[in-house]
Symmetry: none
Subunit: 417 residues, 2 copies
């Protein structure tokens, strides 16, 4: 089955934005068994949009079109679709109610221009949008079923999953099953090296996707029936897990890294407190991205100055003077301080040099000291990370959480570090 993706937006044809929707849709349609004939990206231009819709409609069975459904004057997709279909636009009262309700619920006034988002080509199947104000629609153009979705990635992704997958998956005869494993702690080349030979031995395709700082390993099997494809993919995924180890493969599917730490803390009935210097709140942010974090996370003392480290966490002035703020000794004192301040069961501290400035020969940019305190003692670990300030901070946060996970798995701080 031949498919195409059409992305509409002058911000894309001007190169102001990386077209992540195109990559995402191409990957999903491929995984569903479609062959993409084309990924077209066009500007907010009526003649170009209309010509492209006609062309793709006559060449493909499935077209997924994103963007241009917003309320502003440069959002042209719906009007272009109606012209290509030679039908008028009609306002859908139910959609208008929903858009209005969305604004009412949030206490914002609805602008006049938003009403336009309830207009659809006559006869189109309306696709509700649970996450935003722009509903999508489906229409037949030429030989193709064309799905019009908004350009905002999270809305587009949710609507693809809800409205498109079910509508098109029966068109494909081959069965695919994909297992996605999330890993942290090894570079892509090392992951690749450790998995050499599995593709050949297990008859699967293994793909890698860097999603900093994680590497996703995708194991794809194809089979005549669904059960066979699933069995094959699962068997190969088991081999992948064995080769990489459970510390590296932390989850399957969409589970965030922080969620696995939350699960481990919940399972052991422990509550975590943080002392963050170089990460500035990032670790707390990652833990509280997830609802229900208050079950295992009590708080974080972000201490961005030496004075705050002393005053709030009780780090002795002598330690700061003798070893400096970025040292194993201060990290341990910070972890202990957070444990006591919050009355938690485990304290995690992070102190480092995120850069780009502030590095010295002894303590270069990228140096981070991690420490963990439990009732009975502390452990520390020195790590060095490459790259930008952002990358150093994210790697430090992940490494800190990984250390908590390891201590929880072992049940002790002895021998970890």
């Amino acid at each position: 089955m031949s498919a195409a993706v059409l992305c509409i937006g002058t911000e894309l044809t001007r190169g102001e934005l990386v077209n992540s929707n195109a990559t995402w849709l191409a990957e999903r349609l491929t995984a569903l068994g479609f062959e993409l004939r084309e990924v077209a990206t066009v500007p907010d231009s009526k003649p170009v949009i209309e010509q492209t819709l006609r062309r793709l409609g006559s060449n493909c069975q499935i077209v997924v079109c994103t963007g241009g459904l917003g309320p502003t004057t440069d959002d042209l997709t719906t009007a272009c679709a109606a012209r290509v279909l030679s039908v008028p636009l009609e306002r859908d009262e139910a959609s208008l109610q929903q858009i209005r309700a969305r604004f009412t619920a949030t206490g914002r006034p609805m602008a006049a221009s938003n009403a336009k988002q309830a207009d659809f080509p006559r006869g189109a199947r309306i696709l509700p949008n649970d996450l935003g104000t722009a509903p999508g629609f489906e229409a037949r153009i030429g030989d193709a079923r064309v799905f019009f979705l908004p350009g905002v990635p999270r809305e587009m992704e949710a609507m693809f999953t809800t409205h498109v997958v079910g509508a098109v998956e029966d068109l494909v005869s081959e069965h695919l099953y994909q297992v996605r494993l999330r890993t942290f702690g090894l570079p892509e080349s090392a992951v690749n090296d450790r998995l050499t030979g599995i593709e050949r031995d297990a008859g699967v395709v293994i793909g890698y996707r860097a999603h900093f700082p994680e590497i996703e390993v995708k194991v794809l099997a194809r089979g005549g029936d669904a059960a066979e494809a699933e069995r094959q993919a699962r068997d190969a995924a088991r081999t992948v897990r064995q080769r990489l180890g459970e510390e590296v493969v932390f989850a399957e599917g969409e589970v965030p890294f922080a969620a696995t730490i939350g699960e481990a803390l919940t399972a052991k009935g422990r509550r975590l407190a943080l002392a963050e210097s170089c990460t500035g709140g990032l670790v707390g942010k990652l833990l509280t991205d997830l609802p229900g974090a208050s079950r295992y996370f009590v708080g974080s003392a972000v201490v961005y100055s030496n004075a705050a480290k002393q005053r709030i966490l009780g780090v002795p002035a002598e330690l700061l003077e003798q070893y400096g703020a970025v040292s194993a000794e201060v990290a341990r004192a910070m972890a202990d301080g957070a444990l006591n301040l919050y009355g938690a069961d485990i304290g995690l501290a992070l102190t480092g040099i995120a850069g780009p400035d502030g590095g010295t020969t002894d303590k270069p940019v990228g140096l981070v000291h991690l420490a963990i305190a439990v009732g009975g003692g502390t452990l520390s670990r020195e790590v060095r990370f490459p790259g930008s300030r952002e990358r150093v901070r994210v790697l430090a946060a992940y490494a800190g959480l990984a250390l908590v996970r390891k201590v929880l798995a072992r049940g002790t701080i002895d021998g970890v570090g």
Copy 2:
């Protein structure tokens, strides 16, 4: 002048790789003054490549084509170009020598298949590649000058700069100038409504780009000379700023929102401390994304439980009991507590219900109380945000920082809130 980009490679239409070449070329061609009619991405398929070359050749003046010049059997671009041009392939001995010399210099044996990279459509202008084995070429297809470049980004970028820029820049008679304004605080539709008429009155094009929670407003002017285009864009941008107000338009260009708060704090010589509940460290993370934040940011007390609010920030138990953790009274006590704990000049507190659970009729998901403490007193503000947990948290963080910015701009907390 109308231009197009054509990227060839099944790895792109399968979504295995982000198409960074497309974004890079689109940006460069736009900066040179071209309007991109299309960015097409097609698989390694002879009929699709040939049809696409014919189509773009008849619609555009300039086409930049990347990929498919390698030595393997799925590299089809050169053969397809020859067929479209109805000319045979001819081996270029000078190019063959260069390819051979490249292998010799690096001590690798040259595979037989590499000789294919010295074949070009008869009459094509050969474009040497100083960084790799695949030379490019230029040919006229239909009305277009078509430049064929390799797909490896660094080779493609160097060859674009060396061979394409000089060849095409004289074709552009028009000059473009763009001003990009960053806004926060109004939904896209409201921004659009307030700017109605500027396009027509000022002879510019206004575009919008949602970059949650910010909306970027792009003002594009075209003129016969560069100075005229710039003047026109700057005049229109001034009108945009007036219509939206300086509280909404927080910066021009690439400046992060948190940086404007940092600048305002630095300008007034004030240091900020935070008390974060629902944001869990996100506000501290945003402030410390930027190097040098220690000049104006001392730390954040992330207090994710009532006990921590009492114990660390000294929030009175009676306030928590009487008003609840999500209340103006508790927010004020938290802000005051952070101010005192860190010895800062300004304290910002955020407490709210990020969801998806935990909402009640009185205190629904999305309700956030913000408070600011300065030496002389406190102010609070109640806000309600729509959307997911992630969106509520990001909106709360931005609203808190915006409140700090407002207080700094006024120089007092009186009348703010």
